[in-house]
Structures are given as C-alpha cells and as structure tokens.
Amino acid sequence: MRRIIWLAAGVSLLAAGYFSIVSLNRWEWSRALYFGLIFLVAEIGLATALLLRKLDQIQHPNVAQVDPMVLSRLRESRDSTHRFEWLDARNLTNRTNVFITLLIGGGVLLSGLAWLVDRVASVTSTPIREQSLAKELASITYPRGGLLVDDMSVLAQSVPGCDDPQLRKLLRRAGHGG
C-alpha cells in the first residue's frame, strides 16, 4: 500500500511537470498554472513524506536495524517439514503416504470417468432422438377414440338386417363382435 502511494505521488509529480512544460510551450497559461499547482502539491507532499521518514529513522534508529542473531534464531526455529514427502524415492520407511496418494488420485480419476459417462449418456437422449422414437411408437399407439365403441355403433349393430363389414370389423376389435 505504501509503495502504491509513493508511486502515485511520483507519477503525479512527473505528469504534472510534463504537462506544465507542454502547456507553457503552447501558450496555454491557465493550463500551465493548473498543472504547476498540481506539481507543487505533489512535490510538497513527497518532500514532507521523505522528511517524516528520515525523522522517524532518526528517532527510532534501532527499528530499521535487524539483529543477525535474532534473525538466525528465527530461521532455525522455522518448521522444517518436508512437503511432498511421498514423492521422495529415498524415503522407503513409510509407504502409507503413497497408498493415500494413489487412493485420492484414483478417486479423482474415477470421478472424472463417471462425469464423462454421464455426459455421454445425456447426449443419447437428445430431442431429435426423442422425436424419432415417438415416430416409431406411433405404430403401436391406441386408436384416438379409444378401444371402446361409441353408443351409436352399438345401436347400429343391433339394428336388424345391418350387415356393414367395417362395423363388424370394428366391433370384433373391441371385443363385442361375434
């Protein structure tokens, strides 16, 4: 964060200085004054920040200095755990880590395979396939009016002397004919 502030102040100083000179060269006095003011503000801000930092260093001289002994103690006390130990071929004492790694890796591979199978299966039931299946099933669908004959057909059969072959056929399908 502190570096960003220093960078912003530095860029403002340079840009304001540049545009101030450019504006002066173009005879644009108001713009030159404006950019000059920004330049001045950035310059004062940077100078103040530098002075404050220097004063802080004078007031607290020990803060900036690092005791090498303390530093070495800290580095020695750091946890020296060997990460990725199961990948180390020299370590033959503990093979459980390898087993766990294989188990987890195998689980990941199986999950990936299952996902792939699921994707392939979902592709087989596309709308076009469903449409063709519906077309094939149309030949074995029930008739639109249902299997039961209506009242008028029943009455027609009971009329004496009626000998309509179509009607007889229909009634036979419905289980009423003889």
Partner: protein, 129 residues
C-alpha cells in the same frame, strides 16, 4: 578515463547542446514580417457544459476570439460566421506569423472562460487583394 568514456561524454554533451538548441528554436518567440494583404480564417469547434444560461455559444465564441486577438498582431476582418451548431469561423487581417499562430491558438484553447472549451480546427491563410 579511457577513450570509450571520452567518446560517451562527448556524445552526451552534443546531445544536450543539440537538444537545447532545438528547444530554443521551438519555444523562442520570433516575429517575422507579415504581408498586410493577407488574412487568416480561424475555424473553431466550441463546446460548453453547465455554463451560464444567458450566454450563448455565439457570444462566448465571439468574446474569446476578440479578446485573444488582442494578444497578437491582427484585427477582425468580418463578423463571426456560424458553420453549424458547434463550429464557427472568423477572419483576421493581416495573417499571423508562426509565433502569433501558436500564441493565438494557445489563447483560444486555454481554459480562459469557465465551462467553455474551444478547439482550433483550421487556420487558413489567404490573400485579400
């Protein structure tokens, strides 16, 4: 210092001197003779935002052109001409030399009037006689 360092120092010195001469030539005000039978047409694009409601673009443009021409050696040669909603032109006589052109353009494009921005699009010089 070896010979390489000397050559480097010489090159840096030459570059600095050349840059100073170039900057002097680019920035120094130098007035040349201008034929009084010449004129210059200045075409500007104008824009205003949140300005005074009583001031029209035409008034602002004319005021700026007439005040800026006092900084250079020229006089109005005709009235302000409205080209479209945001473009105006005005002719001045005599024409401007290089320094006056730069100064006139700078004055027009500077933030002289509040809420009023001018861009000089053309400065066409021509003979009047």
């Amino acid at each position: 210092m070896n010979w390489l360092g000397r050559i480097g120092s010489l090159l840096v010195t030459l570059a600095l001197v050349g840059g100073a001469v170039l900057m002097r030539d680019r920035t120094l005000s130098r007035h040349d003779y201008v034929d009084p039978r010449t004129a210059v047409e200045v075409v500007v694009q104008v824009e205003t935002r949140s300005g005074e409601r009583s001031s029209t673009l035409e008034e602002l443009t004319e005021a700026l052109l007439l005040s800026c021409r006092l900084e250079v050696n020229t006089d109005p040669y005709g009235d302000l001409v409205r080209l479209d909603d945001h473009h105006y032109s005005m002719t001045f006589r005599p024409a401007l030399d290089r320094t006056d052109r730069r100064q006139f353009k700078g004055c027009l494009q500077d933030w002289t009037l509040d809420h009023f921005l001018v861009t000089v699009e053309q400065m066409n010089e021509f003979s009047v006689e």
